[in-house]
Amino acid sequence: MAQSGDRSPTARLGLLDATMVGMGAMIGAGIFVLTGLAAEIAGPAAILVFALNGVVTVLTGISYAELASAIPKSGGGYVFVREVFSGPTSFLMGWMLSFAYMIAGALYALGFSSNFVEFVHLYWAGLPTGPVWHILYALTVVGLFALLNAVSTEASGGAETVVTIIKIIILLVFAGFGAFAVEGSNFEPFFAKDDSSVAILKAMGLTFIAFEGYDLIATVTEEVENPRENIPKAIFISLVATVAIYLIVVWVAIGTLGAEELGRAGETGIAEAATSFMPTIPLLGEGAALIVFGAVFSTVSALNAVVIASSRVVFAMGREDQLPNPLGQISARFGTPLAAVVVSAAVMLGSVVFLPIEQVGRVSSLFFLVSFVVVNWSVIRLRNRRPNMRRPFEMPFYPAIPILAIVLNLVLAYFLLRDDPYTLVLGLGWIAIGGLVYAALQWRGAETARAET
């Protein structure tokens, strides 16, 4: 029968699936693209950079867990803030968070093209390279995944779980072979320069987006089984496991290649480290191919995750009338938030073409830091305003955790901006555009209301 429903409803996600949603977004993006950057600034202390970033992120993760367990709505950070704050604040939160995801997407797309070129060159040297080609590959991959998300509801939890497990296995293979090639001398001196603490804080701010993605778990809450228990668990497990994997991989990369060499390699750092020690594997040829393949595969799946994340925030804002209403509608043809996906992809494509990659990463980090401040603040405000609200997961050590998280996030934001006015200008510019959009929507809303009365 033509009119009977023919699209499959979204699958239910168990604890493993929910954990993998978070790990899938966190692993792949940062680890391949940002390790080199951290090593360049902080030297071997890059390992400390990731460890400390992990601690800061876990603090905010605890706040996310409390909010997600008490507010049964999909949509993540934006939705929680919308519950607690006035219109302008929540709008700003959604505006920054969606943009942060979009530019993170641009960053991953560019990371993809570097690693993709590397991978193809292992087998066929004829693939054209150069800045223009890199951008072209990045645009293609963004377009492809936007299309995929536009025409079908996202891949079921099961598929994402398999993809993430493959990524983890590839990284463990890398770490397993690399561990034997680690040379202690590569960690000396451990701190790069005299002002090592500044270098570490700066590198932390720049690579903060590495642990971005666990909040995706909070955006899919309604699809998770027994969410009251599984959401907080999934957030913790995915964060702790990801931090552990990062530390092992960074340790191996620095120990085999040396921090300086790693910094020079940039986005392809992990791949180059692999080239130095991976044995030859039957069928694949050079063993490093496996790692480069892992990098390509991982950046692609992380890209997919942020396409979903950014369009979910845009969709939620559309439903709350904080963005034009069509963005909050699902397409009748495909059953997907088509308009929200198209808008997210358009901003990603624009960022790939018009913004330099480092700046792109910095603005993204800055916005994540600021929105995490707001999320922690929401926890405090909700505790004050709704003391009797049920909190199925109630954090220990309140209010120390959210206050500490706010302070640490602000410190990182400060060091990120300290000698980089361009990032601040870019960030403020985007916020100013948001202000205009908000004012225009308010004005139009008032007009419509007048027309109706």
Binding site: M1, G5, A70, T221, R319, R333, R386, N388, R390
Partner: protein, 220 residues
Amino acid sequence: MSVSGKDLRIIIAGGGEVGFRTAEFLDERGHDVVVIERDPDRCQEIADEYVATIIEGDATLPDIFRQAGPERADVLAAMSDHPLTNLAVCMIGQRMNPDLHTVMRTDAETGDAHAELVDAVIYPRRASALLAVNAILSGDVRSLEHAMGVLDIAEVRIGEDAPVVGKVLDEISLPEGSLVVSDVEGARVARADTVMKAGQRYIVAAEPDVIEEVMRLLRG
């Protein structure tokens, strides 16, 4: 008040059987629900279902009621067993937000006595009695509610800006587990070339998992 085309924010005072089921059905349709319930054990049970934000306490106390956010809510449904408690809650709600649409649960003895003070009065126990009559006198015709099990059969008015407006059923991709049953105003069985018209009513059947998505397609 029109309830088509927008996600509503609804406060339900009283999380007993009736209040909780109401919250569950509203959540399935994509609305935001806040439940105020006094009994801690009952709060725990509702929290396990993850359909609403829960405020634990007595809804007739302004300090508790305020935590449900009445200033931003669209509808207040007072659903406890006690009509006078429900009336008090509706009065508090209207005082805190004059635009709040109030629904009061009552019983047969109290009847329509308070009807002019609230926007709607409902008698769940009378409805249950009618269902019992249906079951006792089961003949060839049975009430829809009784027959349908978990399946939700609803009459839906198509929102003005809904994604499906102006499309024929054949070009709309509804989720598996849903079906448009009847044509405009229930006059004809729907077929592939049935056009979805804004503002018109259609009978739709859907399984609980997909109701929210179906409502979003049809209402906007």
